[in-house]
Amino acid sequence: MSLKTTILLSCALFFYLNSIAQDKAYFNQTELGFLYGKGSEQWDGSKENRIDVSFITFHGVRITKNHVIGFSTGLDQYNQLSIIPLALGWRGFLGKTGKPNVFAGLDIGGGSALLEKKEENEWSKSWYEGGYLVSPSFGASFPAKKGKSALTLSFAYKRQQISQFVGTFLPPGSPSIPTDLLPPGFSTFTENDFLFRSFVFRAGLLF
């Protein structure tokens, strides 16, 4: 599923869910926590740990008593990189109403590098592009004494792809040579494909 499809589906779902938000069927789970990952190998073979903020808000609709489908968005920080995840998701619950439950979830979509600025000067240009996102999760919910809301603790795995592109322009006056390998106007082009694998620990509320 492409990122565009995800965005379109999520938007459609968002409006649909808004319309039924007052209904009993509406489900929301909003959590804040941190991403933990081991960086890629450095030149000396060592790996640096990274711990960054992760925020997620899931909007969905109960399709059965224990199953919810919807979409999630939020913000994930990977070192200096800020990524907006946008995914279609599912939540499944196990337990009795009014008692602590365990749940599992799955979010599949993409991360957008919308917040990352394109940098361009006389000689070069660099930018980020988002990529696929998969995040299975599980956790526990502890219902409040009154009302429908519950406190949640969840643990997730998140696999996020991000690409960085850095190109230097051809010196002015150079003849162009037709090629599929280099975008026109560039003399060098570097593509860095990052695959971030993180464990996510979050706490929040659902209702």
Binding site: R50, A104, Y157, P172, S187
Partner: protein, 416 residues
């Protein structure tokens, strides 16, 4: 659905978490353009028969030479296109002479001279439909030799894709690719036209003079079909153009203009050097003055953009008469009282230069749409090279140029 039971799913996800690899990965792909060395045995090059081929489309034309009603257009390192230009508003592409390593040419009588890597070739062009190779002078442009075994090194523009993170280290020289690239390009493509001001081959008094970056090579061509190498003359670095006038050779380098007395054609001697700031500088000359354009560009940084008029009445002591600010002058051409300047992306200018102290006040036309790099005032038309290809103008009325035709090229020169 039984299989979608929550506990089973939970178990599945826990398994996914446990078995997933858990550190980040980075895959980098580096794509870059560079000049790759190509090694050639001259014996192989010489063994190839040069057979005239049917007309080919112009790809990335270099130097242009006017010979009778024909245009010879060099395709740098590939060969020479021959076009019938009897009607400048409708030039006809006739044929192509494939000459590997060719960057320059000159015509003497019925003989065409062209370089073929280290050799100089002479073609009989008396019958344009039956061009024949009549002589090969071996091992004259020997700066191309890598060592004495007859192997030459040339560079080919190549695009490389690698995942090796150390390409920048392994290929230290690649980092300066912009430099080597433009230097090669400058050598290969920026020498347009003997008629033009950026020539590197020139003929004077039955001698052919060929300049490369540091050396002038003299050939005796008294018998046109039998050129003989006379000697090399060291000029110092940064030589760019050569312009003959009467018995004098004006040689443009990137830091000055060298004036050589060629009254003894086989052995030109230096009369003086007019020095200026580092810049690209084609030169044209009339009786009293030399016109030099200085330009700021890739291969010649630090430059200024101006037209200098140099008084050459005393060839041993050339003096700056006046300089005029220009936008980005690339090439220039002189036709009697009229001077044409190609201003790169800015266009094409024409001046009346009868009063050299007031050239700026005598600008006739500034065609801002005609981006241009070099020009040749030919007998039938003004030939202008630019991103639109090779265009010809009727300049019988110098103050009102009229476009006649443009020969399309598939990979036109970039103006900058």
């Amino acid at each position: 659905m039984k299989s979608l039971d929550t506990p089973k799913l939970l178990l599945f996800f826990i398994a996914v978490l446990i078995f997933s690899s858990c550190h980040d990965e980075v895959t980098s792909t580096y794509t870059y353009r560079t000049m790759m060395p190509v090694y050639l045995e001259m014996s192989d090059v010489r063994a190839r028969t040069i057979a005239i081929e049917p007309a080919k489309d112009l790809d990335n034309p270099g130097k242009i030479y006017i010979y009778e009603d024909y245009l010879f257009i060099n395709e740098p390192t590939k060969g020479i296109h021959i076009l019938d230009n009897e009607d400048p508003s409708r030039p006809i592409n006739l044929s192509f002479i494939p000459i590997a390593g060719n960057v320059d040419m000159a015509v003497n009588g019925k003989i065409l001279y062209a370089d073929n890597y280290v050799d100089l070739l002479a073609f009989d062009i008396s019958d344009i439909n039956h061009i024949q190779l009549v002589k090969r002078v071996e091992d004259v442009f020997n700066h191309l030799y890598r060592h004495d075994t007859g192997e030459i090194i040339t560079f080919q523009d190549t695009i490389i894709t690698t995942e090796s993170a150390t390409w920048q280290v392994e290929r230290g020289w690649v980092m300066s690719d912009a430099l080597s690239f433009s230097a090669n390009y400058a050598a290969a493509s920026q020498s347009y036209g003997t008629g033009g001001s950026m020539a590197r081959f020139t003929l004077l008094n039955q001698h052919l003079y060929a300049v490369d970056e540091s050396t002038m090579r003299v050939f005796d061509v008294e018998v046109p079909a039998d050129p003989t190498f006379v000697k090399p003359i060291d000029l110092g670095w940064g030589i760019e153009t050569i312009f003959p006038f009467k018995d004098i050779l004006f040689i443009g380098s990137n830091n000055g203009m060298h004036i050589y007395d060629a009254s003894t054609p086989s052995s030109p001697t230096r009369m003086s050097v007019y020095e200026h700031v580092q810049a690209c500088d084609p030169v044209v000359v009339n009786e009293d003055y030399a016109f030099v354009t200085l330009r700021n560009g890739t291969a010649c940084w630090n430059g200024v953009n101006e037209l200098q008029v140099i008084d050459i009445n005393d060839l041993y002591n050339p003096t700056l008469k006046k300089s005029y600010a220009m936008l980005n002058p690339h090439g220039l051409g002189l036709a009697g009282e009229y001077l044409y300047v190609t201003e790169g992306v800015h266009g094409l200018k024409s001046f009346n230069i009868s009063d050299v102290m007031a050239i700026d006040q005598n600008q006739l036309e500034f065609l801002e749409k005609e981006k241009s790099v070099d020009l040749i005032p030919g007998p039938n038309s003004l030939i202008v090279i630019g991103p639109d290809g090779v265009c010809q103008f009727d300049y019988s009325n110098p103050s009102k140029l009229r476009k006649l035709s443009c020969i399309q090229v598939s990979n036109p020169v970039n103006v900058y």
